[in-house]
């Protein structure tokens, strides 16, 4: 009997000790093997420097599923201490929900932050003027095209001067090669990609290049939005864009990972990660000599101009309700280290935000990314506002209706406006 009591007391003591140890454990949410592999060395550095245990919790891989799990846990109050946010357009809404801890003071006091390019710092500032995320990498997006396919067919590889020029180029590709001429991600299955990797490329070059007004409302009734949807419609009606795969459950797989490497799709929007993750050395279906075979065009403006789209690449944030808030903030600074930026760039292909990487031989070895990093500061970006997630979903719904040929450009614009009004209230739309 005494042994039983002693055993019970020992078990209680051990569980108390375990609880104490848990207080020094940082839980980190990550998804996708490439992301986990990239972060593992940083986790080891955090453990060594802060004397804590880092527990990496693997979340579902598709961005949408990751966000569903993360937001549900944040709402329930049991989310990890530190996490990345795959869709930067979700940041403002997460701030409004009170999920993210402010880290502006910590970043300002951190010596490494002064080396970050201005565009990264500006993108990290939320609509309330505070900074809640570590903008350690950038997604620099342009239009990527199969130079070999175009040259073989005698099609110009020069930078298109306008939307009309881009559309003509796509038609010429279709006519001369039979390949789809141009892909802009669209539809609800692509999640935030329909907005961030599709719509955004066009709206920045339209007659209404910003959709957030100075008072934080959404300007969605303008001509620019209508013209963007008309561009989509022209692509779809002329069979220049592969529509069927975009309506499936994983719409990026067939066009990006199969059709483009085979040359059946000749041009698509993409980010620097395509040179590494989608078609480069980390790809399961790599294109040999990818930087020669695949060229880039800046996004042409509607009438003129060239734009390179810059956005935050999966910024890190700290859970506002973390039991280890101060520790988590210190760990957040480590996620912004040059080491982590380079390790992430090597695995995924995003662009490091710190200019300090230019002096690092490990980054210089990433020859595909070096010139893009140097030009990162010239990137154009969309202003963010609370409710951006609803705009993103509205764009996905509107473009899906276009994909299904259920509406015209004006109808698509009405779908977007109605969805945002219904979700955020009439007053949210100008």
């Amino acid at each position: 009997m005494n042994r039983l009591i002693a055993g019970g007391l020992a078990a209680i003591a051990m569980s108390l000790l375990a609880s104490t140890a848990n207080a020094e454990t940082l839980r980190v949410a990550l998804h996708g093997q490439a992301g986990i592999d990239a972060f593992t060395p940083t986790a080891e550095r955090i453990e060594k420097e802060l004397g804590v245990t880092v527990e990496i919790v693997e979340y579902p891989a598709p961005d949408k599923d990751y966000m569903t799990k993360l937001l549900t846990e944040l709402a329930a109050g049991n989310a990890p201490d530190l996490f990345s946010i795959p869709g930067a357009s979700d940041v403002a809404d997460m701030v409004a929900a009170g999920y993210l801890a402010p880290v502006g003071a910590e970043l300002a006091a951190w010596p490494g932050y002064k080396d970050f390019v201005d565009v990264a710092k500006q993108l990290a500032v939320s609509p309330d003027g505070e900074t809640y995320v570590m903008p350690y990498i950038l997604g620099i997006q342009q239009i990527y095209f199969r130079r070999d396919v175009l040259e073989k067919a005698g099609i110009s590889t020069e930078q298109p001067k306008s939307w009309a020029d881009l559309l003509d180029r796509a038609k010429e590709i279709k006519a001369k090669t039979g390949a789809y001429g141009l892909l802009f991600p669209a539809g609800t299955s692509w999640g935030g990609g329909a907005f961030a990797e599709g719509f955004s490329h066009l709206i920045i070059g339209s007659s209404t290049p910003q959709i957030v007004t100075d008072d934080g409302k959404f300007d969605l009734n303008g001509k620019g939005v209508l013209d963007v949807f008309q561009f989509y419609k022209d692509l779809i009606d002329n069979d220049l864009m592969p529509v069927d795969p975009l309506l499936g459950p994983e719409p990026w797989v067939i066009p990006k990972y199969e059709m483009f490497p085979k040359g059946e799709l000749a041009a698509t929007t993409c980010g620097s990660w395509c040179y590494i993750f989608d078609w480069g050395r980390e790809s399961k279906n790599p294109i040999p000599d990818v930087t020669t075979v695949v060229g880039t065009w800046a996004d042409p403006g509607q009438e003129s101009g060239e734009f390179v789209l810059a956005g935050l690449g999966a910024p890190w944030a700290v859970n506002a309700k973390s039991a280890n808030l101060e520790l988590a903030k210190k760990a957040l600074l480590e996620t912004g280290s040059v080491d982590n930026q380079i390790e992430t760039a090597a695995r995924i292909g995003n662009i490091p935000s710190s200019n300090a990487v230019q002096a690092d031989p490990r980054f210089q070895a990433l020859t595909e990314l070096v010139p893009i990093q140097a030009a990162a500061n010239h990137g154009t970006y969309l202003k963010q506002a609370t409710g951006m997630s609803a705009v993103s979903e509205g764009v996905a719904r509107a473009t899906e209706a276009l994909l299904r040929k259920e509406t015209d450009a004006a109808g698509a614009q009405a779908i977007l406006v109605d969805y945002v009004k219904q979700t955020l209230g009439d007053e949210a739309v100008k």
């Binding site: 569903t68 009170g98 539809g187 299955s189 309506l247 409710g387 997630s389 219904q422 979700t423």
Partner: protein, 295 residues
């Protein structure tokens, strides 16, 4: 007086006996259902301002729901899915299987075991298994069969999405149908058939005038269970198509999930869930009343 006291004591005893079932029912079913009704009248969300400060919107979510073409589409898809898989597919094949098993033909036990096998695989596992059979490309099982037969192949889940999803759910539910209907068949007295045979009834007449009428309560009970459970099928459809392509397989459960956990609008999703609950209840009541089945 003594009788009244006895009655009250008996009622208290009954209540005590029911409490172990009533408490979890109240906590896990009734309270969440009532909370969903409340939630459906707010703009509660998983992110944005509404997550921090949800507000009461009355019937706003319902008005929005009834003007949402995707919601009506999901109801239509659910209707086709339920009629196709539960009422036609599972019932017809399950009934044939139950009749075959009753005949004690050679291999009937193996047949019975085989038809129950789909129930052994979890919904999501079954879904992914079927994806490998129905996916696009010439490596998918069904495409290989078509090629072997010299027929054209397709990306089955893209070309015939609702038909394929209905077929997979039929495959999965045949076993349950067969068990329930076998139980119903075994309850039909054999003397009735013997009497009918002596009166010169042929097999068709016996089936139409004896088996079906006497099986009616079982059939309607099965219809009630399978209809309500098919309305709530989620994992299988989500694993197969996530409601796509273009909403062609977005049954009501997937629609509710998409609104609540993909678009993060809990209040609006709850409104959809309440409508689904009302539809299920109405169907249940209609079934029960139509034949006065005692459930």
């Amino acid at each position: 007086m003594a009788f009244d006291a006895f009655q009250k004591r008996k009622e208290r005893q009954l209540l005590r006996l029911l409490l172990p079932a009533l408490i979890p029912l109240a906590v896990l079913v009734i309270y969440p259902a009532l909370y969903s009704v409340y939630l459906s009248m707010t703009n509660e969300a998983l992110t944005g301002l509404a997550a921090a400060k949800p507000r009461f919107v009355g019937v706003g979510n319902y008005l929005r729901l009834f003007s949402d073409a995707r919601f009506w589409n999901s109801l239509f898809v659910t209707f086709v899915f339920v009629v196709g898989s539960a009422i036609i597919g599972q019932f017809v094949i399950g009934f044939i299987a139950a009749l075959a098993l009753k005949r004690k033909i050679v291999g009937s036990s193996v047949f019975g075991a085989a038809i129950l096998l789909p129930n052994a695989a979890p919904e999501v596992v079954a879904g992914f298994m079927w994806i490998s059979m129905l996916a696009g490309g010439d490596h998918a099982t069904l495409s290989k069969i078509m090629i072997a037969l010299g027929l054209p192949w397709a990306d089955w889940l893209q070309t015939f999405p609702l038909f394929m999803v209905t077929m997979v759910n039929t495959w999965r539910g045949i076993g349950t149908a067969m068990i329930l209907l076998t139980a119903g068949l075994s309850a039909v007295p054999t003397e009735v058939y013997e009497a009918a045979r002596m009166d010169g009834a042929n097999p068709r007449q016996m089936f139409m005038r004896i088996t079906l009428p006497l099986m009616a309560p079982t059939i309607f009970l099965y219809m009630l269970i399978s209809t309500v459970s098919t309305i709530s099928v989620f994992g299988l459809v989500y694993a197969l198509t996530r409601g796509g392509p273009g909403g062609k397989t977005e049954v009501i459960s997937v629609y509710i999930y998409n609104q609540s956990f993909t678009n993060f609008q809990l209040g609006y999703g709850a409104a959809g869930a309440v409508v689904a609950l009302v539809v299920s209840l109405a169907l249940g009541i209609a079934y029960v009343r139509s034949l006065k089945v005692e459930v």
